[in-house]
Symmetry: C2
Subunit: 414 residues, 2 copies
């Protein structure tokens, strides 16, 4: 099944909003063997939307369109589709009930624009939106399926999961492509490529290798084409085992598991409680750890000690050491890591202190200089890094490096 995605929104073309929907939808379609061959973004204009439909309907088996279904006047997708399919708007009773119930539950007034959200072209199959007011719409014409979904990501995701994926899955043959992604942290892309070049050269021709770097993380994606699923899985397994012999200690998981999730699973398995003492990362480690549902099982809390006073006052760092060595120093991060364990009552911790930039660098300690310490049952391991790039990038790299060092400390692979 061949597919294309259409995103509608001036806000994307003028650069005000990032389209995260297209990538999410591709990923879901890919999992069930549907290949996305094109992504297009067009403006909130009836003419442009119609021209795009004219071009793509009949050419692809499946078109998924997002955006332009909001309650306000600038949203025109529904009206445009009604005209395109020459079908009048009618109210979808189930959606109407849901909207009324939702407003009542929240004690909000029922306003006309909310109720109009339940209207859809008579011709389509309406898809009940369990996460918002605008229903999805399923059209079929000229052998193509066209699905229109709201642009609000969590509403779109709910509709995809509740309706679209299950219906499409029934129509698709067995996937002919198998992917596996190996998640690594700690080695830059070009050095990783150098480390594994012999292994990469020895890969059978049907396995394609791609490098997908993110700040602090490199993902290696292996794709097997034109093999039956079982054979592909076996081939991948054998070759991944060989890869682990070379870079095993840098691998924290597979298939887009996040490092915070991988670390969380390890902490939970070991029944450990963790805390962080953060200066330059400013709460980013805590945020990443707590972004995982159920993280309260192992995350106890953090002290964000941005000001040096807090480092001494709450974490017990010796002010004389801050004075003599500087806040970005080995002794300071060690005392931060030990101090947060003691103050928050955990066995395990991470601490960061660095210069995130863009200002504050010196010749001796340029922007990006970061000390990281990880600690387990009183044993500490501290290391200095020189991260590069923007403030955001330095913070991300420092956060991921701290989490990976803690994993490796717990696994005795430092």
């Amino acid at each position: 099944m061949r597919s294309a995605l259409i995103t509608i929104g001036d806000e994307i073309l003028i650069g005000q909003v990032t389209d995260t929907n297209a990538v999410w939808i591709s990923k879901q379609l890919n999992k069930i063997g549907v290949r996305v061959e094109e992504m297009v973004t067009v403006s909130d204009e009836a003419g442009q939307i119609t021209a795009t439909l004219d071009r793509l309907m009949g050419r692809y088996d499946l078109l998924i369109m997002t955006g332009g279904l909001g309650p306000t006047k600038d949203d025109i997708t529904k009206q445009t589709l009604a005209k395109y399919f020459d079908s009048k708007l009618v109210s979808h009773p189930e959606s109407l009930d849901r909207i009324r119930a939702f407003l009542k539950e929240r004690g909000r007034a029922v306003i006309e624009s909310n109720l109009r959200q339940a209207e859809v072209p008579e011709l389509c199959r309406p898809l009940l939106n369990n996460h918002g007011s605008a229903p999805g719409m399923w059209f079929e014409k000229e052998g193509s399926i066209l699905i229109s979904l709201p642009g609000v990501p969590y509403e779109m995701k709910g509709l995809m999961t509740d309706h679209v994926i299950p219906s499409i899955r029934e129509k698709v043959e067995v996937p002919g492509v198998v992917h596996r992604t190996i998640m690594t942290q700690g080695v830059p892309e070009s050095y990783l490529a150098e480390m594994i070049k012999d292994w990469a050269a020895s890969l059978p021709e049907c396995i394609k290798l791609a490098y997908l770097p993110r700040p602090g993380i490199v993902r290696l994606r292996l794709t097997v084409v034109d093999k039956c699923a079982q054979e592909a899985e076996q081939l991948l397994e054998v070759n991944i085992d060989k890869l682990l012999d070379i870079i095993g200690k840098h691998v924290f998981g597979y298939d887009d598991i996040s490092l915070e999730d991988a670390l969380g699973k390890l902490l939970k398995e070991r029944k450990l409680k963790v805390a962080s003492a953060e200066s330059c990362t400013g709460g980013n480690i805590a945020r990443l750890l707590t972004s995982v549902p159920g993280s309260s099982a192992y995350f106890k809390g953090s002290v964000i000690a941005y000001d040096n006073q807090i480092k001494s006052r709450v974490l017990g760092v010796d002010p004389e050491i801050i004075e003599s060595e500087g806040a970005v120093s080995k002794k300071v991060v060690e005392q931060m890591a030990l101090g947060v364990c003691q103050n928050l009552g955990t066995q395990t911790s991470m601490a960061t202190s660095g210069i995130a930039g863009p200002d504050g660098g010196t010749e001796e300690k340029p922007v990006g200089t970061t000390w990281i310490c990880v600690c387990h049952e009183g044993k500490t391991y501290a290391k200095q890094y020189l991260f590069w790039g923007t403030r955001e990038r330095v913070i991300d790299q420092a956060s991921f490096t701290a989490m990976q060092l803690l994993r490796r400390l717990l696994l005795n692979s430092l």
Copy 2:
């Protein structure tokens, strides 16, 4: 000047990576009056790249292409462009010097793949990359400019800022479109539309209004078309003044300023120091505040009290109150807000305690229930909310609501 953007990468089509480059480039082009009319994403295949160039060269004045310039084998853009323009690869001396210097500075080995990064098709104008190894490339043919840039966002941004924007700006006439964005927090999109519907109906025809919601934030974008810049500015000013009479207390700024930046500016102006005591937001408020360069001028630190023990132990919340009222309660957030001021030595603070989900909700306190308290010089203001959506969304809404409440407390507009 009409333009289109081409993103190259299988990783985007299979949904592994979100394309944030296209939106950033559009925004920059928009600022200098260049309209992006199309965004296309294609795969890392020479055939697809060439077909896309065949379709778009000559049709647009400017094409900007990102991706596929990395050091590894799966990156084929440069080779494909060399073939497309029938021009052999030669080493760009300035880029080569930069790569050698960079590796030396970091004490890294010089590997062949790093040096090959300095090669470009002889025909192009190479653009020195000050943030990485692969230079950008500027081609001209059939009246179209084609610029190829690395896909790594901060390298792409550096090249855009250093070379592309200044060169393009020289070629563009005075922009015919003026945008202004009003940033609001605290009122959902449909209720905001209801509040301002008379004002919206009274807008002159040349002003277009769009609603751009994000979790916890709604942006109102006003666009003036076909007016001279000065006249457009005046029209906008008059109409925005009228809007402020209606929703002024919900407005925290203009033109994509972030709430963390707006709050930061206010704190700095008042010479205040702020701290946060976070339970359900898990460090997200601290992370947002510290994402702003120079935030150490007003941000002192935070206590992430995920575990109830930390609420009592570090923030001095009465354990009996946690027992009797629950951790998600008015008294607990008030004590957290006061406690963090005392413990970290600030006049000003924010505190959050809620159920971010997906588990942990009860009939009485469903997922999304959140208490927020803001505090200034011992005066507290606490309020209960029921946020909805995913865990990430609840955390975002709680974080932005806390920051906006603190702004309004400081401005006496609560």
